[in-house]
């Protein structure tokens, strides 16, 4: 199992390199001189020369990439143009907020999603099932940023239960987590329900009935366990949506985090920051996917044995 994990981790390297190339190229594909895109207008020639030396901007492209990569691995992600602070610092400040939001949203989606999906399957065709299906429809078709705005309008502005924006207290987390989470719940519940109904038709379930177990016990203690496999598969494939959701929702709720940092720096054309954020977010997606794969492999006894 450990070997498998290490192998997959190593496979991540070429993927990371490929992504980093694309992100590196951003500065060079954007119209204008890369130097001007990295430094403020009105900088002195000495500052420009220092920049050229630091990033090897007078070198051929390939070497530039090498320099950039080397700087990256040393923690030097460049300096923000507008704020004139190291990008690394900006990211380090914002990352914890995003992690908190993303983590909680993931937890919420998974737990509530599996629970509602299982309930829907258990009480198939009842009002419970139909309500869950309606919830799934809403959660998967409503744009998340609109949902966020709606939440703000109802719960923050009208009812004043939660703050409208920012991250000053833990209550400020509730609405953003719910907004991202609702979309996730829809996905997880849909897969859980479908998986449970599908598995419920298998032979071993017939056998469980023949042994005298009750329907409820069979569904919750046996079928659900099998259904978790496709759920984990889906979650690990689509872990990206949490990142995407966090980016959008942070902006909507004006929360600090990598997402709002990315959006604002895009609007301001602060490319070093843009690159840094994109890189971090891409890494988050890759690591999340890897983690999902590992959990998946660990859950199925057949796969576990094959890996030994």
């Amino acid at each position: 199992m450990l070997n498998y994990a290490i192998k997959r981790l190593l496979l991540l390297v070429p993927v990371f390199l490929a992504v980093s190339v694309v992100i590196f190229m951003i500065i060079h594909l954007v119209p204008g001189d890369p130097i001007d895109n990295m430094i403020q207008i009105g900088s002195s020639p000495e500052q420009k020369a220092a920049l050229i030396a630091r990033y090897g901007l007078d070198q051929p492209l390939l070497l530039q990439y090498g320099v950039w990569l080397r700087n990256l691995l040393r923690g030097d992600l460049g300096d923000a143009m507008i704020l004139r602070r190291p990008v690394f610092q900006l990211i380090a400040e914002n990352l914890p907020h995003s992690l908190r939001l993303g983590g909680l949203a993931f937890l919420f989606s998974t737990v509530v999603g599996i629970a509602t999906g299982a309930l829907a399957a258990l009480f198939k065709d009842s009002w419970i099932d139909r309500s869950v299906m309606a919830l799934i429809l809403l959660g998967s078709t409503l744009p998340s940023f609109w949902l966020g705005l709606l939440m703000i309008m109802v719960f923050a502005v009208q009812l004043e239960w939660f703050p409208v924006s920012g991250a000053r207290s833990w209550t400020a987390l509730v609405l953003p987590v719910l907004t991202i989470g609702l979309h996730g719940v829809a996905l997880v519940a849909r897969v859980t329900r479908a998986a449970m109904l599908d598995i419920g038709r298998r032979d071993f379930v017939l056998m469980l009935h023949a042994k005298g177990l009750s329907h409820r016990r069979i569904q919750l203690q046996h079928v659900l366990r099998h259904a978790l496999l496709p759920v984990v598969t889906i979650l690990s494939l689509r872990i990206g949506w949490i990142v995407g959701g966090a980016v959008t929702i942070e902006f909507v709720f004006a929360r600090p985090g990598l997402g709002s940092l990315l959006i604002t720096s895009l609007a301001q054309r602060d490319y070093p920051v843009v690159q840094g954020c994109l890189l971090m977010l891409a890494m988050a997606v890759m690591l999340g996917t890897l983690l999902g794969d590992l959990v998946q492999a660990g859950m199925d006894p057949r796969v576990r044995d094959n890996l030994r």
């Binding site: 594909l29 609109w146 309008m153 409208v164 689509r238 990142v243 977010l281």
Partner: protein, 283 residues
């Protein structure tokens, strides 16, 4: 006539879901096409003496912070959303089908390379990919189209490739190959027609997602630029008026919701009628 009566389209139309959602979609499309005749006001006429007015008989959905009629802006905004989404998805489907079909049919190293790239982008959220390309291309109508197009490329390439690979080994294809048909001939006559349907339906459903993505980018201020009306940008400027004029946010939002829900319902009904559920949704 009887052929139509038994065709999947008719079966879909007969259901509540299929019929109503298609009617709604047609209404939206017609409103967008004939916007200058349907909208009560032009979208950019400002009336600074009537800013942030609540919905009334004169302005069914109220006015925004510049006194512009919200309803008209929503109707014109439909043009933007639909155009961008459909153009982007059309490009995405075409390119994706081409890549996926070629990869699935020819196999070998080409297939492996394409699959590696596609799988790479597959796990990334569409928002992120779109943002990357907006970073490179800047904001605006065309860059939004391209960005969205690329964001969904992986989905269609994968889907097509899976369809092609499933059909490739069917005996009638082998027979055609043995009889000396060329590669292109086999691709176009035999493989693509069967593979096309699930991809087309997936494309339709993706238009709904694309509308949301376009609105999201617009909300960030990175999509279609003013004065062109865009649902996302309307909501973004609406947040400044969140206490004074919530209808500026609700209006476009409801419009998006109606459009996307209709697309999803119609698509689902179509999937059931064609009985291709297992081939369309990989995820």
């Amino acid at each position: 006539m009887s052929a139509f009566a038994s065709s999947p389209l008719w079966r879909v139309l007969r259901t509540w879901r299929g019929g109503v959602s298609l009617a709604v979609l047609l209404a939206i499309a017609l409103a967008a096409i004939f916007a200058p005749w349907v909208a009560p006001y032009p979208y950019d006429i400002q009336n600074l003496s009537a800013t942030n007015k609540a919905p009334s008989l004169a302005h069914w959905l109220g006015t925004d912070e510049f006194g512009r009629d919200v309803l008209s802006r929503i109707i014109y905004g439909a043009r933007t959303s639909l155009t961008v989404a459909m153009a982007a998805i059309f490009g995405s489907v075409t390119l994706g089908m081409g890549l996926g079909a070629a990869a699935g049919y020819f196999g070998g190293l080409f297939d492996r390379i394409v699959t590696a790239i596609v799988d790479l982008t597959w796990s990334f959220p569409e928002v992120l990919i779109a943002l990357i390309f907006v970073a490179i291309l800047g904001a605006g109508l065309y860059s939004t189209m391209v960005a969205i197009s690329i964001a969904y490329l992986a989905q269609f390439a994968r889907l097509t490739r899976a369809q092609i690979m499933a059909i490739k080994s069917e005996t009638y294809v082998e027979a055609a190959a043995n009889l000396g048909s060329g590669h292109l001939h086999i691709l176009f006559r035999h493989l693509l027609p069967n593979a096309i349907t699930p991809v087309i339906v997936a494309g339709m459903l993706a238009i709904g997602d694309a509308i949301i993505l376009e609105a999201t980018l617009g909300f960030f201020g990175l999509g279609v630029q003013p004065p062109k009306p865009s649902w996302g940008a309307m909501m973004s400027s609406g947040t400044g008026q969140i206490f004074l004029a919530p209808w500026t946010i609700l209006g476009p939002g409801v419009a998006i919701a109606i459009a996307v829900v209709s697309i999803n319902l119609f698509g689902d009904a179509l999937i059931e009628a064609l009985d291709i559920r297992n081939r369309v949704r990989e995820v």
